[in-house]
């Protein structure tokens, strides 16, 4: 199995998975059903964990395995489950009318991907493309695009829970950037980030629940009493 030793193969794998991650992100933009969106997010996180594992393997960065495991368990399993239960509980199926309609959203996502590539292009240093350290660096464009599209989703969606999901997918972009650029952050930082993420989702979950209870709706456009 010589190709398991070949960094070129790893690079291809990573690029491929990153491309899928981006596709899934755009799929989220086009998707109106909440539950489907959550599952797409889970799939995306799963792929991310895969990328992390691959990088850990090819670059001999053992602490990335931990990050990959945390990503998998937290983002691909725990959070989707929590969110799906929340959706069931508040009994809301789909986003009826996003603020920006779907075709336009897709178009904008395309534009944002371009921006991501432009930004990432400035990082390319021709002299070190061949070195192993550059492995996975071309995924940076994907990371930036993920980040921007996630951000855009927060703006275009009305449902509170979709905003939470968008925020999480945005963080996926960050995670991708971290593992692809620097093979992850120092472990303790990584742990802290995951802990924060967990708490954040709990806090936001409670808030979503309270919003539903108080406003009888998950539509955050109704949260506009505080002005001026």
């Amino acid at each position: 199995m010589y190709f398991f030793e070949d960094p070129q193969f790893g690079n291809r794998m990573i690029t491929l998975m990153a491309a899928f991650v981006l596709v899934l992100q755009i799929a989220m933009v086009g998707q109106r059903w909440l539950v489907t969106n959550i599952r797409v997010f889970a799939a995306q996180s799963f792929l991310l964990a895969g990328i992390a594992n691959t990088i850990a393997y090819f670059n001999h960065a053992p602490h990335l395995y931990i990050a990959a495991f945390l990503t998998f368990s937290l983002k691909a399993v725990v959070l989707p489950v929590v969110l799906e239960r929340l959706v069931k509980r508040v009994d809301i199926g789909q986003e009826i009318a996003p603020i920006v309609n779907v075709p336009l959203s897709l178009l904008i996502s395309g534009g944002l991907t371009t921006v991501g590539y432009v930004v990432a292009a400035s990082f390319h240093h021709p002299e070190d493309t061949a070195s192993p350290a550059s492995l996975g660096r071309n995924t940076l464009a994907v990371a930036v695009s993920l980040f921007l599209i996630g951000f855009f989703m927060m703006i275009s969606r009305r449902k509170a829970i979709m905003q939470v999901l968008a925020l999480l997918s945005l963080e996926n972009g960050l995670f991708l950037a971290a593992i692809s650029l620097t093979y992850g952050m120092p472990l303790i930082v990584e742990l802290g980030i995951f802990f924060d993420l967990l708490v954040a989702v709990m806090v936001l979950g409670i808030l979503v629940y309270r919003i539903q209870e108080t406003f009888d709706s998950m539509d955050v456009t109704k949260l506009s009493r505080l002005r001026g």
């Binding site: 960065a61 602490h63 930004v119 400035s122 990082f123 350290a133 980040f147 951000f151 927060m154 509170a160 905003q163 925020l167 945005l170 963080e171 960050l174 950037a177 971290a178 650029l181 620097t182 093979y183 952050m185 120092p186 472990l187 303790i188 930082v189 802290g192 980030i193 802990f195 924060d196 708490v199 954040a200 806090v203 936001l204 409670i206 808030l207 309270r210 919003i211 108080t214 406003f215 955050v220 949260l223 506009s224 009493r225 505080l226 001026g228």
Partner: protein
């Protein structure tokens, strides 16, 4: 050990408060913890003044002059807020605010929420200042957000949930950007340091090598950090959560948000600013900071001129002051940094006073809307009324109050720089903000007696107000030498010296 104690005490206090069964116990735990904390912070400042730096756990926690200053101010704000909070929540209880909640929660559980979350909140802020590692610092800043979300939605009104949601969402996005910036910084240092250990993000290590960092990456990193921590600090155009959160949170929480969280966010920004200027020279950062600083001050102007709620008015003042500090940083040089830190210090001391006054008035009038207040508060509130007016003047930079000194220093630095229009524009905007404040608060405080029952009887509220007001007045004439020395050393840190 000192650093450990600084972090452990609030954690312990939070846990104890959570376990406590009655109000008095919780009040006592908080007061005691914050009093001790303040003493420890003062001790830290004293040590740092002599040794320049205190470290723990192989440099995982480290305090230089800048950290010590932020710790000291955080501890101070926490202490005065906890004193005020006693009177504030007792008054709330008397007014049956908790029973009238949408949720109908009992008084004690509401209070428990405040008294146990606040120490956690303070813990997170102290960690921000003491963490040497920029990643850990990010985690801590995120933690301040998480600890304070439920403090903002404390009253459980529809509007407070709205405010909390906006706070959490905008804060979340902002901090993601900050994390992105942190990652990029790590990356740009990565190649230089060739290390994957924790030390790769330690500021004390980074600052030494900053000149060799990758320039493009550092640019992008700074942009993201500026937007990220700028969101947390409420710099325009990321400021939008501020008026909502400040007007909905209980007054002690709002005061802490305005006076202490702002410091922490700016602290984070400063750390990266130092790296950026070392790597890229001062122009790049100062260009951006000038734009954002002026935008913040400018955004505050229309809202200060036309405003319906005095709580929101204070929030805009906070945005304005964030902008001023950013400009101090932008104008650069030793003078700019010094002016900025002086402003930071004076702001942290003056702002709580203003919030406390607003809190007293709000509890007295049962509203924070100007239109429902009939003016003439000075008759029913002979203490809070005049002090409110005084604090307004203090916070708008009228001498003899101390904020004039720091603003003047910042402006001096500005006029020393290559561009003259930013400081001139700043002066114009500051005048406009003063006008808005004076018109609003004078209308509220002065005037014929509307015949309200006398207030200002609660000693906790009254004496925390008078005490803090005395501090504000004294600061106008006398800044203690060691404190000034600390600020000056901290300014050296900002200027890039160790």
């Amino acid at each position: 050990m000192l650093l450990f104690a600084l972090l452990a005490i609030p954690l312990a206090a939070g846990a104890l408060s959570f376990a406590a069964r009655n109000r008095r116990a919780m009040e006592a735990i908080n007061l005691a913890a914050f009093a001790v904390l303040f003493l420890l912070a003062a001790d830290l400042a004293w040590q740092v003044l002599h040794t320049r730096s205190v470290q723990l756990w192989n440099g995982f926690l480290a305090a230089d002059s800048l950290s010590a200053l932020v710790v000291l101010l955080t501890a101070f704000v926490a202490l005065v807020c906890s004193i005020y909070a006693v009177g504030y929540f007792r008054e709330d209880e008397r007014n049956h605010v908790f029973e009238a909640n949408v949720r109908g929660a009992a008084t004690i559980s509401s209070l428990r929420k405040y008294y146990s979350l606040t120490p956690l909140f303070v813990f997170a802020m102290l960690l921000v200042a003491l963490a040497n590692n920029l990643g850990v610092m990010w985690v801590a800043i995120e933690a301040t957000t998480l600890a304070s979300v439920f403090l903002i939605s404390f009253y459980g009104r529809a509007t407070s949930i709205e405010a909390a949601w906006k706070y959490a969402m905008i804060g979340g996005v902002g901090l993601s950007m900050a994390l992105f910036g942190t990652i990029l910084t790590y990356y740009s240092a990565h190649n230089v340091l060739e290390t994957e250990t924790l030390a790769g993000l330690n500021w004390s290590v980074l600052v030494v090598n900053a000149q060799q960092f990758d320039k493009t990456t550092m640019k992008l990193a700074f942009i993201l950090i500026l937007l990220g921590y700028g969101t947390k600090a409420g710099i325009a155009p990321m400021h939008t959560w501020k008026p909502d959160a400040y007007s909905e949170a209980p007054v002690p929480v709002a005061a802490m948000l305005a006076a202490a969280v702002l410091n922490c966010a700016l602290y984070g920004l400063i750390r990266f600013y130092v790296l950026t200027t070392r790597c890229l020279g001062p122009e790049f950062a100062s260009q951006l900071l000038i734009i954002f600083g002026l935008l913040s001050v400018g955004v505050a102007v229309p809202f200060v001129l036309v405003q319906k709620s005095f709580r929101r008015l204070l929030a805009y003042s906070s945005i304005d002051h964030g902008g001023i500090m950013i400009l101090g940083l932008a104008f650069g040089g030793a003078l700019g940094a010094l002016g900025m830190l002086l402003h930071l210090t004076f702001h942290s001391i003056t702002k709580p006073l203003l919030f406390f006054c607003a809190g007293n008035v709000e509890q007295h009038l049962k509203t924070d809307l100007f239109r429902r207040a009939k003016g003439g508060l000075i008759h029913s509130m002979p203490v809070s009324g005049p002090i409110f007016l005084m604090a307004t003047l203090a916070v708008t930079g009228i001498p003899p109050f101390s904020m004039f000194q720091s603003e003047f220093t910042i402006l001096r630095a500005g006029f020393g720089g290559p561009l003259l229009w930013p400081p001139i524009l700043l002066i114009v905007l500051l005048v406009a903000i003063f006008i808005g404040f004076l018109v609003h608060i004078a209308r509220l405080v002065l005037g014929a007696d509307p015949g309200l029952p006398p207030s200002d009887s609660c000693p906790w509220k009254k004496y925390s107000l008078i005490g803090l007001a005395s501090v504000v007045v004294i600061l106008g004439f006398w800044l203690p030498g060691p404190l000034f020395e600390l600020i000056r050393n901290a300014a050296r840190v900002v200027g890039g010296e160790r």
